[in-house]
Chain length 641, copies 2
C-alpha cells in the first residue's frame, strides 16, 4: 500500500480528466501539493493508505474553478457606481477614486477580501490585473490561492506609476522577484487599446517573452499581432468586438481567451462570439472581471450566464451546454491561462486544487442520474457559490466546512467599510462641486477673475463689419467660426454653469479648417455696472473637452441643459491702448432674426477691469451702437426668453 | 402608545413606498397580518408598544419578492433535460414525463419544495400555473406563502384533464371553492398560443371575468384582444415576441406583464422589450418561470439578469438600473399581479410580507452610502438568495434565522429523489427504444407484420408505364408524388430505423395539390426469399409527423441520417385476385440516371405473404422486367452504395 497524506472518499467526483470520468463513489489520494490518484473509492482505499481519510459522503467534488480575468482589489469599489456607461464609470468614477485611494494597503486589503470571496465560492486560481501587483501577489500568496498577477500598464499616469516607463520598470523588478513562486505567477498587463500605445505593447511583449506569463486585455487583434504581442503567452480578456479573421489569428497564435459574461452585459460592451471561438479551437475561460463591474466574484453566476447568453445570442438553446461551460471554467480555463499542466482537472500529477460542494439542499433537488450530463446541469444551472463547503489549493485546505483557514475576515471587513466611508466622503465633496468633478477627470485651468462685457442687439451686421474693417482700428487677429454650445445648469445652491463648446473654425471660403472642443466652467458672478459695460467678477475655468458631450452630460448630470449654436465673427483689436474682443454673432439654433454685437475683455486686476469697462463703452459708441439696446443677459438666458 | 403584535427595529429598511423611503435606522410595527407603521426606529418605538420587539441591527429589511410567473411543482423536474430546444424540451420531455407522473401527490410535493426554495430566497408571493392547481393552492396555503394559482388549460389532453372541457370544469369548481382564501387567489391559465384555441380563450375569459384573477401566458396580443381576453385581469408571461403596437394594446388594457429573464435566455426564446414596456407605462414584474427551464426559483438571479439583459440588449449600460429592477420585483411586480393594494411595499395598511437579509458577508462588502441608490445596487447586483435570513408572510414567520417554519424539508427531499429515480427509470426505458420515444410524443399505429417486395433497376420508365396503363390490369388507384425521405439510423443493438417522409401529391399538371408528413418506424427484419420476391417480417409503425424534421432529429438523436428524395408514380392494382402496389421511382436526390420498378404488398398473415410473393414475381415477369436486375437493397442502402 502506498502512503499518501490525505484521502477524500465516498464522494461524487467530477474529474474533468481526459475521459471526463464522473465517479459516483469516488476517492482522491493526495500527497504534498499534488494529486496521486483519482478512482473508485474501493480502488483508492485498497491501494493507498493516508494519514487522514476524510469521508465525503453526500458531497460532490470537482476541480477548483479558474477565474481567468479579474481585478481582485477592486472589491473595495464594489457598488460604488453602477448603471453608468463604460467611459463615465471608468474615467469618471473608477480612475479618479483609484488615483486618490489606491495604495499598497488598499491593494492588500481589497485582494484579501477578493480572495476570501473567491475561495468561499470555490475559485482556486485567478488571473489578476491591477496596480501595485506585487502587493496583490503577496496577498494571494498569503490567502493560499493560485494566481497569475499582472501589473497594469497604462499610457497615462496611474496610481502606482507617474508614467508608463515607471510602470514597466515596476513590472520588470516585480516579475524578476516572483518568477519562482509556487502559487503566484507574475505577469504584465497592458490595459486596453484605448489606454495604451505601440511602444507600451512592444515593451510589454519583450518583458513577457523573457519566459514569463502574462494576462493581457486587448481585442484589436491585427494591431497587437503586428506588434509581436501574440508571440508571448497572451490571455485576451472580453473579446466582444472581434470578427472571424481575428478569431483565427488568435487561434493560430494559441492565445488564451477570457470570457466575462456579467461584466460584458452590465457595461453593455457586447456579446462575445464564444461559440465561434470554441468551434475554432480556442481555449476560452470564464471570468468575473472586477467586482466593481459585476458586482461580485461568483463564478457560478458566470457559468450560468455564459451558457444563457450563448443560447440567446446564438438563438440556439443547445448552444454552450452545461458540460462545455464547466469545462471552460476548469480544464479549458486552466489551459487558457497556460496552466493546463498544473490545474483544472482532478488527475494524478496535477496540483491538488479541489473543491467540495453540498448539492443536497432544496434548490439542487431532486437528483437525476439518467444522463451522464445531469451532474453538469446541476453544477452550472443550479449550484450556488454558497454550496461550496471545502476548498483545497496546492494540497492545503483554505476552506473547511465553510470556514476560511487563511484569512481572518472580520477585521478586513471593518477596514473595508472604513475605506468605503472615506471614498464616500471624497465623492460627496467632489459631487458637491462641479469644479471638483471637472478636476477629477483631468483638471482645468483657472482664467482671469474679471470679465468685462457689453452686448447689444443690432438689426444688421454689415455696417458694423464695415466700420471695424475700415482701417480705423488696429486689428490683431480675426476669426470666423460656428460655435455649438451646450450649457449645463445645476440646482441651487450650486450656481456653477458648465459650457461644452465645439468651435468650427471657418476659412474665407466658409469651409471648416479646424475644430476645437472646450469646457468652460463659470462660478457665481458678482456683478457690477460701470458706465454701460457689465463687469463681472467670477471664477472661470477652461479645460479641453476630450470626451463626448454625452459623456459630460452623464457624468455631470445637470439639472437642465440649453443648446445655443451661433455663427461668430471675431476681432481681437487694440483700441486706445487696450486689447478688446469684438464679436458679431448670429444665432443659428434657436434661429433669431437679429445680430448681437459683443465687446469683451478679461483681466486679473480689478483696477484694470474698471479701465477696460470705460474703453468698452467708448468703443461701443465709436462703432455707432446705441446704449438703449444693451442686453444684460447671456445667451442661454436670451434663448430661454 | 398603540399596541401592536411585533416591532422590527434598528434595521436598514428599503420601503419601496410612494416616496421610496430608505430608512438607515428604521422600524416596522405589525399587527395581525398587516403593517401598522413604518418609520425611524425612535418614532416607531415611541408610538407603538409590541408583544415582541425584535432587534434587527445589521439587517436589511425589504418587501418580500414577487415571483410573477412560475410552475412551482416542476421543481420535481429540475435538471431532468437541459440544453434542448423549447419544442423538444417541452413536447419531447416535459409533457411525456408529466403525462406519466403528474398527479395530485406530485403537485403537492413539487409545490412544497418550490415554496421552500422560494421562501428561503425571500419570495413571499408567486403566480403559478400548472395542473391539479387546487393541490398547488393547498400546498401554498400549507407553506403559508401568498400565491395566485392558475389552473392550466391546454387544447390537448393533459395530466389532469382528458379534454379542455374537463380542464375548464375543473377550473370552475376550483375557483369557486377558493375565491375567499386569505393567501391563495385562484385563477385560470390558458397555456400558450400553440397549445390553445379560440374556444378555450373565450371560455377562460368568461371564467376569469366572473371577478376572479388569472395568470395567463399569451403573447399574440391582437388575437387575444379580439377574443375579449384583455378585458379580464390578465398577466401575460414572457412577451418576448411583441411589437410596439402590441405593447400599446397591453398598456391600454392594463395588462400585467411577467418578465422571465433566465428562462427566455436558456430556451433562447428571445429578448423581451422590457425597457420599451416600462416606458409605455406597463407594470412589468420579474419571474423565474418553472425550475425546469431556469433551473431554480432564485429571484435574486432574475433581478440581476433582468438588468444585465436590458443593458446588453439595449446597448445601454444605464438601462434598467438596480432601483427599477427592485421595483419590478416588489411594488410593480405586485401591481402586475393586481395585488398592488395588498403587497409589494412596506407601508401602513399593506399585508406584512417582509424579508430580512444579512448583507454583511464578504460578497456584499463594502457598504457605500453616498448615493441613495447604493442599497439597490447591493440588493440587485450582489445579494444572494442565501443572504435572506427571515421571512414573514401575512404577518406570520415562515423563515426564522434561515430555518423554515412551515415546511419539514427532509422527508420531502427524500420523496423528491424517489420520484427522480422513477422518472429516470421511465426515461431510460423510453430512451432505450425508438418506439417508446415515438409513443411518448403522441403514439404510433402498428402496421401489417409482413411486407413482400421486389425491386428492379430499369433503364427507362416509359415502356413499363405504357404496359401498366394498357388496360390489361384492373387499376384501383393511381398517384404521383414527390417523396422527401430522411432515414434515421441508430447504433446497434438498436436496429430500428425511423423514416421522416414528406409526400407532395402532384396533379396531372405536375402541381402540388396536397402534402402529407409521416413517420415510419421499422424494426429489425427477418428476411426470407420466395421466388424472386423478398419477403420481410418486421414490426412497422406509422404516425403522422406533426413536428418538424429538426424536432425529430434532435429528439431522436440518431447515430446517422440519410436523405433520399424521389419522384414516384404509383399504381394500386388488382392482379390475379390480389391487390398489389406498383411504384416507378426516379431518384432526384441523390440523382441517379436510372429508374426503379417496385412491386409491394403487406399483410398480417404469413400464408398470405407467401401467396402474394408468388403473385409479385409473376407480375414482374408479366411487366417484362428481368430477374437478373433484382436489387435486394432498400433506398438508403442504394444511396449509400
Amino acid at each position: 500500500m502506498q502512503k499518501v497524506d490525505v484521502i477524500l472518499k465516498n464522494a461524487l467526483i467530477v474529474t474533468m480528466d481526459q475521459d471526463e470520468r464522473v465517479l459516483a463513489d469516488g476517492a482522491i489520494a493526495i500527497s504534498g501539493n499534488s494529486i496521486q490518484a483519482v478512482g473508485e473509492t474501493k480502488e483508492i482505499t485498497a491501494e493507498y493508505k493516508a494519514d487522514e481519510t476524510i469521508d465525503c459522503a453526500g458531497k460532490t467534488i470537482t476541480p477548483g474553478l479558474v477565474n481567468s480575468h479579474t481585478h481582485a482589489a477592486m472589491t473595495l469599489l464594489r457598488g460604488l457606481a453602477d448603471d453608468l456607461r463604460l467611459d463615465v464609470w471608468l474615467l469618471g468614477y473608477m480612475m479618479p477614486v483609484e488615483r486618490e485611494f489606491v495604495s499598497p494597503e488598499f491593494c492588500r486589503l481589497g485582494t484579501l477580501l477578493g480572495c476570501a470571496e473567491m475561495i468561499r465560492g470555490g475559485t482556486t486560481c485567478f488571473a489578476d490585473m491591477y496596480y501595485y501587483e506585487e502587493t496583490v501577489a503577496e496577498a494571494a500568496a498569503e490567502a493560499g490561492i493560485r494566481a497569475i498577477c499582472g501589473q497594469t500598464v497604462l499610457k497615462f499616469p496611474s496610481p502606482d506609476a507617474e508614467s508608463y516607463e515607471d510602470a514597466l520598470d515596476y513590472a520588470r523588478s516585480y516579475m524578476e522577484k516572483w518568477r519562482d513562486h509556487p502559487l503566484v505567477i507574475p505577469a504584465i498587463a497592458p490595459h486596453a487599446p484605448y489606454t495604451t500605445t505601440d511602444e507600451i505593447l512592444k515593451a510589454c511583449t519583450e518583458l513577457a517573452m523573457e519566459n514569463w506569463r502574462e494576462t493581457y486585455d486587448m481585442p484589436v487583434v491585427p494591431w497587437v499581432k503586428k506588434l509581436g504581442l501574440l508571440d508571448a503567452k497572451v490571455v485576451a480578456a472580453h473579446c466582444v468586438h472581434i470578427d472571424d479573421g481575428e478569431i483565427h489569428t488568435l487561434q493560430h497564435a494559441g492565445t488564451g481567451i477570457s470570457h466575462n459574461p456579467s461584466s460584458n452585459l452590465k457595461l453593455a460592451s457586447g456579446f462575445a462570439p464564444v461559440t465561434e471561438m470554441l468551434e475554432t479551437g480556442l481555449n476560452v475561460g470564464v471570468a468575473t472581471d472586477g467586482p466593481s463591474s459585476n458586482n461580485d466574484l461568483d463564478m457560478w453566476e458566470e457559468m450560468r450566464l455564459a451558457s444563457f447568453i450563448a443560447k440567446a445570442y446564438g438563438e440556439n438553446p443547445t448552444a454552450l451546454p452545461a458540460k462545455t461551460v464547466f469545462d471552460m471554467t476548469t480544464r479549458m480555463g486552466a489551459k487558457a491561462l497556460y496552466l493546463g499542466d498544473i490545474t483544472g482537472s482532478l488527475e494524478a500529477g496535477k496540483r491538488a486544487d479541489i473543491i467540495l460542494l453540498d448539492l443536497q439542499s432544496v434548490h439542487n433537488a431532486p437528483h437525476f442520474a439518467r444522463s451522464p450530463d445531469a451532474v453538469y446541469s446541476r453544477l452550472v444551472y443550479t449550484a450556488k457559490a454558497t454550496d461550496v463547503t471545502d476548498v483545497m489549493i496546492d494540497g492545503k485546505w483554505v476552506l473547511r466546512e465553510r470556514q476560511l483557514q487563511t484569512i481572518d475576515l472580520d477585521p478586513l471587513l471593518k477596514e473595508a467599510d472604513e475605506y468605503a466611508a472615506k471614498i464616500d466622503a471624497f465623492l460627496i465633496e467632489r459631487e458637491g462641486s462641479v469644479l471638483s468633478k471637472l478636476i477629477a477627470i483631468g483638471g482645468a485651468e483657472r482664467e482671469e477673475s474679471y470679465e468685462i462685457q457689453i452686448k447689444v442687439r443690432i438689426p444688421d451686421a454689415a455696417p458694423f463689419v464695415e466700420k471695424i474693417n475700415s482701417g480705423e482700428f488696429e486689428i490683431v487677429r480675426t476669426a470666423h467660426y460656428l460655435e455649438y454650445d451646450t450649457y449645463f445648469a445645476f440646482d441651487a445652491p450650486e450656481e456653477y454653469r458648465l459650457r461644452y463648446r465645439e468651435d468650427e473654425f471657418l476659412n474665407d471660403e466658409g469651409e471648416v479648417f479646424n475644430v476645437r472642443y472646450r469646457l468652460t466652467l463659470t462660478g457665481p458672478a458678482a456683478e457690477g455696472e460701470y458706465h454701460d459695460a457689465i463687469f463681472l467678477s467670477r471664477s472661470r475655468f477652461i479645460a479641453p473637452a476630450i470626451h463626448s458631450l454625452r459623456f459630460y452630460q452623464e457624468y455631470f448630470n445637470p439639472a437642465s441643459s440649453i443648446e445655443v449654436n451661433k455663427d461668430r465673427l471675431r476681432w481681437q483689436l487694440r483700441y486706445e491702448g487696450v486689447e478688446l474682443f469684438v464679436n458679431i454673432d448670429r444665432l443659428i439654433n434657436p434661429k433669431l432674426d437679429c445680430f448681437f454685437l459683443e465687446i469683451k475683455s478679461r483681466t486679473w486686476s480689478r483696477r484694470d477691469a474698471q479701465q477696460k469697462a470705460d474703453k468698452i463703452s467708448s468703443l461701443l459708441h465709436t462703432l455707432g451702437a446705441g446704449d438703449s439696446d444693451t442686453i444684460r443677459m447671456e445667451y442661454p438666458q436670451i434663448v430661454v426668453e
